[in-house]
Symmetry: C2
Subunit: 188 residues, 2 copies
DNA sequence: CGGAATATTCGGTTGATGCCGAATATACCG
DNA sequence: CGGTATATTCGGCATCAACCGAATATTCCG
């Protein structure tokens, strides 16, 4: 209970400003930690992404160590992982030797597209192959259970065909095209 | 190395048929285990889902225990979890007392829609709130860093607005409408 | 082609998760 | 309103994943 509280006065800007900025960042970064969790990633990834998100220039590993408190090895692994997911990009700065710098990918559409291309597409392929093999095996069998299974397998294969088409549309279209599409659909 | 191998002859149907059906099922169920993994679920969930997928009628906990070998408690938890994700439905059969039966949801569009409604929507809300708060806090600060952060926060908020619109479209449309939409887009 | 700066890999440790079986709670039936 | 059949919860063990720091590998520069 000191004399100064409730920093509504812009005259306090010099003192309250920087720490207000820090608090605002922290607030957003914590939300990013939660988001990471929701999408099956580590909380630490959310924090590291957030640090990169607010940086004006690419950030080195050592700076990330200083900022986050994680071990360098942890961050190295995290960066490799997030690069794979297209959440961060590696940049090298001329004159800085081997030093690696990272920046956040801010366009989530791209991130989603890459995920579809990499993971979902592969899942669809694997499942489709399994379904085709099962279908071939079941077609030869004259059995009530086989007929019942066959029908289910064929239904699922149709679902997966549809999904593949959708993934094709989503990964084949540019971000701009998709954005326009969403706008159009929203008005319909 | 017995006399009968290579079951290409339909006359062997009686002997080779049932085990061929079993193999076909197992093949698909294994693919489902992998898929579960890809989408951040437990492998066991893939197997349990697969068992339900091939069943013609709702399946009881005890039957799932017999089929899968997992402990009843494990399956009970798994079912609760998959119900939350709308991957399985609980059915009660009149005259069967308290006994619970489960069946697989085969329409993945529904599953995806429910995920968007439940998890993604909540993520968007949380993040949006954090961004709005940060925005409000930063607007009052006269500082270069604050201005830079503010711009980034606003950009991200716009992205999230777009995402929310898209989620709205996807969760608001019926499965049929979406299917038709995909068809139309594919032809464009 | 060394050597300095940096990144990556790897074994070990600690905390989280999956699964089990016993204990408990719940729903239905007579 | 018991009693029985069933589901759920909970504590404990085993396995797995995150993280660390030391050891190794890589890159770049002189």
């Amino acid at each position: 209970m000191t004399t100064d509280d409730s920093s509504e006065d812009p005259a306090d800007g010099d003192a309250a400003g920087p720490e207000a900025v820090e608090r605002a960042r922290e607030r957003v970064i914590e939300a990013m930690e939660r988001s990471a969790e929701i999408y099956g990633l580590n909380r630490s990834y959310g924090r590291l992404y957030g640090t990169l998100f607010f940086a004006d220039d690419p950030v080195s590993l050592d700076e990330l160590v200083a900022e986050s408190g994680y071990a360098k090895s942890t961050i190295s692994t995290a960066m490799k992982d997030m690069e794979r997911l297209h959440l961060v990009h590696r940049r090298s700065v001329p004159g800085e030797g081997k030093k690696a710098f990272f920046e956040a990918e801010r366009d989530f559409w791209t991130v989603l597209q890459e995920f579809l291309r990499r993971e979902v597409r592969r899942e669809i392929d694997t499942m489709t192959r399994a379904l085709e093999e099962a279908e071939a095996a079941l077609e030869g069998v004259d059995d009530e259970r086989a007929r019942s299974d066959l029908e289910k397998v064929r239904d699922l294969r149709r679902t997966y065909e549809r999904s593949e088409q959708l993934v094709g549309i989503l990964t084949g279209s540019s971000v701009d095209r998709l954005t326009g599409l969403v706008d159009r659909l929203r008005r319909e």
